[in-house]
């Protein structure tokens, strides 16, 4: 009888009711741990924020540490201020500021503390500490501020600031609260979880007056704070600072990699700024100034900028053509039959073509590569040829993001068959004669400095690479490094094909396209210059590019340098690269003449030529001072001048406790 099922249903209702009553009886009557006594105690949670991990360079020099600062909280209901004017004078506040902060705090809660002033330095706090006794309702809390003693690597490190609304909503576990500090951009964001550690929570009993009455339930529900882990990077801070100084008055990138490990040694994005600017109390003001700066110092150029790689791409052309079987080192091409102009005398073999960066030679190499499949239909043959060109170049990490440990890496463009089908409107609508600019790294190619530095590392390794990365370990070298930064990636090009290329690269520096001064004694630099077409697009000068490695045998450093608007690659970029390599290998600079030349050169585009820079009085970018080689690594003492708060002006009043 279906009707009898009503008893089952009522039975279920009653069963649930009895279960809940039993549970309530347990919670409310039997289990007296939930009892808070007759004094109407309440439970307060006290949040313990652990110190964020510090960041070191490869030689254990500090890049980032935490400086203790004080946040002052106010509980409006408890406030007793005998003399408001005197109080404001002590705090360096105007009366109206004081009123607006107190208004906000009252609005939030009369009985819960609100942030009154944040990030008081130790000195400022010491000054007001004694006087605070006379004023009730103010409570200092110790907190910390990111400090950058080396004043460098700003874009790669990123910064720490209050969590944005977007980040708050998109978190995986609901860890962060409004007003929490969190890493933005760079390594601070990439390794946020390891750096921040884990916040602890203590439950404290308080009476109605907010006086602590000890921990609740003997701390059964408390969780301990776990300190953040220290990040060791592969950066060499001495060389980094030196490269910073070389890139003064220039726009561009320097990226150096240790070829055997893929560790990034130097990562300069010029113009740069002092990272301390974004950790001070004046974050918003400084950030706005940087955003408005016409040289765009907030763009992390090594991974975010994309350029036509110019002649540096000839290295890949030569390698894949040899592997395909369409090019042999002894093949000689003249200038005839090519639509390209050239500055060399022609008649080179492969080594000579690389040494002199012969454009017609690589036009012929690429042409032969594209038509090597022998299809009689040139449109079809070009599509097949380009497909294999793309697939082989992809093995060099040129197509997708390389996967460096920064959140901001951009992809660039390694054109595919599909791409050209779209550009030219349909399949078989284009052929070699439409795309031959690729042969010398121009046309639709867009490659980041990071990828070209990696190309230098690949050639230095004669055929393989490890994805470039900043991390060297957490706490200790080698600990906690993601496995993708330990794997070798093969390029599929045989070892023997690299040898004539490397010979050509050595010759390019010794007696080829590179300016003679950059051939520094004793470092055996091998390299390839590139000139990224820019003048053609309405600018005054091309971009100067150089990639290379040193020494020739058993290379220790691979480097890519981009200097925007600096003309041909053999001078500006090659000089910087040579000096960086020398500093890294010798720990000192002997090529003084070259150094002086680089330091003196200024390739900053005139402000009037920059888009969106109508006002002549645009804020000046911040440049680090040139540094002499450091003999004593302990010399990197924290310099607090940039961050020391000058006055106690209000930044914000955050809600929450």
């Amino acid at each position: 009888m279906l009707e009898n099922r009503k008893w089952v249903i009522i039975g279920v209702f009653i069963l649930v009711g009895i279960t809940y009553l039993a549970r309530l009886f347990y919670l409310q009557v039997l289990d007296d741990t939930y009892s808070l006594g007759a004094s109407k105690n309440s439970i307060k949670r006290v949040v313990e924020i652990p110190y964020r991990g510090q960041v070191y360079d490869r030689n254990n020099q500090l890049l980032v540490y935490n400086m203790p600062v004080y946040d002052l909280y106010v509980t409006p209901k408890q406030v007793r201020i005998p003399d408001t004017t005197a109080f404001c004078r002590m705090m360096n506040l105007s009366l109206s500021d004081f009123d607006s902060i107190m208004g906000l705090a009252k609005n939030y809660s009369a009985v819960k503390p609100s942030l009154f002033i944040k990030r008081l330095s130790k000195e400022d706090f010491a000054r007001i500490q004694d006087a605070l006794v006379d004023y009730q309702g103010f409570e200092p809390m110790i907190s910390s501020m990111r400090t950058y003693p080396a004043h460098t690597l700003s874009n790669a490190l990123g910064y720490v600031s209050e969590i944005t609304k977007r980040q708050l909503e998109n978190q995986d576990l609901p860890y962060y609260r409004q007003g929490d500090y969190v890493g933005h951009n760079g390594l601070e964001e990439q390794y946020e979880e390891q750096l921040r550690g884990r916040r602890g929570v203590k439950f404290m009993m308080q009476n109605v007056r907010g006086v602590n009455k000890g921990s609740w339930k003997d701390g059964e529900f408390d969780t301990l704070a776990v300190a953040g882990q220290n990040l060791i990077t592969g950066i060499d801070v001495d060389v980094q600072q030196y490269a910073d100084s070389l890139m003064r008055n220039k726009v561009g990138s320097v990226l150096a990699i240790e070829p055997a490990t893929g560790e990034i040694l130097v990562s300069v994005s010029a113009p740069t700024y002092d990272p301390n600017l974004l950790s001070s109390r004046h974050f918003s003001k400084n950030y706005r100034a940087l955003i408005k700066n016409p040289y765009k110092p907030l763009i992390n150029r090594p991974v975010m900028a994309s350029y036509r790689p110019g002649s540096t791409f000839k290295l890949i052309q030569a390698l894949i053509a040899q592997q395909q079987g369409s090019l042999f080192p002894n093949m000689v091409y003249g200038h005839g039959g090519s639509p390209m102009r050239c500055h060399c005398r022609g008649g080179n073999n492969l080594r000579g073509a690389i040494q002199n960066s012969c454009n017609p030679y690589f036009y012929q190499v690429f042409r032969k590569f594209m038509y090597f499949n022998g299809d009689p239909n040139t449109f079809k043959a070009s599509a097949i040829g380009l497909r294999s060109w793309h697939d082989m170049s992809e093995k060099f990490g040129m197509a997708d993001r390389l996967g460096v440990d920064l959140p901001s890496e951009l992809k660039g463009n390694l054109p595919t068959v599909k791409y050209y089908d779209k550009v030219y409107g349909g399949e078989k609508s284009w052929k070699f004669s439409n795309v031959y600019s690729l042969s010398i790294g121009e046309g639709e190619l867009l490659i980041s400095p990071l990828k070209l530095a990696n190309l230098a590392a690949i050639i230095a390794n004669r055929g393989w690479y490890i994805i470039p990365h900043y991390i060297k370990g957490f706490g200790k070298t080698g600990v906690g490094v993601p496995t993708e930064y330990l794997e070798r990636h093969e390029t599929g090009i045989d070892y023997k094909y690299y040898l004539p290329i490397i010979d050509g690269m050595r010759a390019a520096v010794a007696r080829g396209t590179v300016t003679p001064l950059a051939n520094i004694n004793g470092i055996e630099l091998c390299g390839k210059t590139g000139t990224s077409q820019n003048a053609k697009f309405g600018h005054k000068f091309d971009h100067s590019i150089f990639i290379g490695f040193a020494p020739m045998n058993n290379p220790k450093i691979a480097v890519a340098v981009f200097v925007e608007n600096a003309g041909w690659g053999g001078k500006a970029a090659a000089s910087v690269a040579a000096l960086v390599a020398e500093r890294y290998l010798k720990r000192k600079t002997e090529a003084k003449k070259l150094e002086a030349q680089v330091l003196a050169s200024n390739y900053l585009p005139a402000l009037s030529r920059l888009p969106g820079a109508a006002k002549p009085a645009a804020p000046k970018p911040v440049y680090p001072k040139p540094v002499a080689p450091q003999k004593d690594s302990a010399a990197a003492k924290p310099l607090m001048t940039a961050t020391k708060p000058k006055s106690l002006t209000l930044a914000t009043v955050a809600s929450g406790n």
Binding site: L24, F25, K40, V201
Partner: protein, 426 residues
Amino acid sequence: MSSSNDPFAQKIDWLTLVLYFGCVTIGWLNVYAAVYSPENHTNLFDMTTNAGKQLMWIGTTVILIICILVINHKFFDSFAYVFYAVMIVVLIAVLFLGSNINGSRSWFKFGAFSIQPAEFAKVATALALAKYIDVPGINLTKGKDLLYIGGIIVLPCILILASNETGSTLVFASFVIMLYREGLPGWIPAVGITVAALFVLALIFPKLYIFAGIVALFGIIALLMPRYNRTTRNLIAMAVVGAGMMVLVTGVDFFVNGVLQKHQRNRIKVLVDPTIDPLGVGWNVTQAKIAIGSGRLQGKGFLEGTQTKFDFVPEQSTDFIFCTIGEEHGFVGSTVVILLFLGLLSRIVILAEKQRSKFARVYGYCVAGILFFHVMINIGMTIGLMPVIGIPLPFFSYGGSSLWSFSILLFIFLKLDSRRTALMRR
């Protein structure tokens, strides 16, 4: 058709009415207690507080009730499918035109007030189901009929899920109570409950233990089985069921990580281990338990609560309203509320059984099921027996949409029921 001449007040079920107004009044006083601040002596009728607004909602609800009782009962029967169709259109419209509140696009905003169509979808779906099952010859053991019924339930579910209101979607599971009464084979809810239980167990205990448990359970059953039942066929059937359960347990991880959204995943994880998120959902549950536990036997007294003031407990006047009751009125107060609900639910079931029309009976069971599901989940989450699912406590929680929809739900049934007594008297 003479019934419309009789005053309806004589035929309405007075016991239900008393229980209903008991709930609404206690609910309102507790909303007041939840927003009460000892410093500025919040006024009970202050229209800027939730308590004042709730009074306004109660007033409008009374008007709605009168309208429902005046309308001819045939209206609900005849227009059941129309309501349902309109509801579906509104649910689609809210996806595109609604305002985004707390990450779910499920509200229509009118000035200071917002209406959530999902709350009303339950009423429309209950009516549509009643209308469909009312057709003679419908058999709930037949696959085809079940398929149509499933379709009626699932369609609004999909739309509500699309607007990111998982809690309201789960409420539709409560129709299984009505379906069971109307002849749904008992094994279907049994399988559902087993799956849910295995799901929770798989999250709490290591998989190997559960496998061992399943093997042991079926082993014991096989041993205790009467000899004549212990055929090869039965044993194979048991082995298949056991293996199916193991596959399910293995699939839980995939479901949790692959199908659920982040915040849903967190709520399940927190139910298993509250310490993983001591400041978020875990904090809510801990605080709710503290508030209720601190009420002891008699409670701290009206407006004397400390935990439910000062924002210790989140959503105090809506989803966590039961904490205020538990804290200020203790075990005694909690018991009264639970008994009120038990009384109301039993009364609805008893009334539903008395109905002559299948339409009214089916609808009555839908009402009982929906109310039961809300009460079970809502109170269960505040005492840590259920995951945190944001659905209101009927008649108690602050909020116009929920008060309106629950009152409409209940009073349509009382109207249908008043028709029954009218028929009997004639």
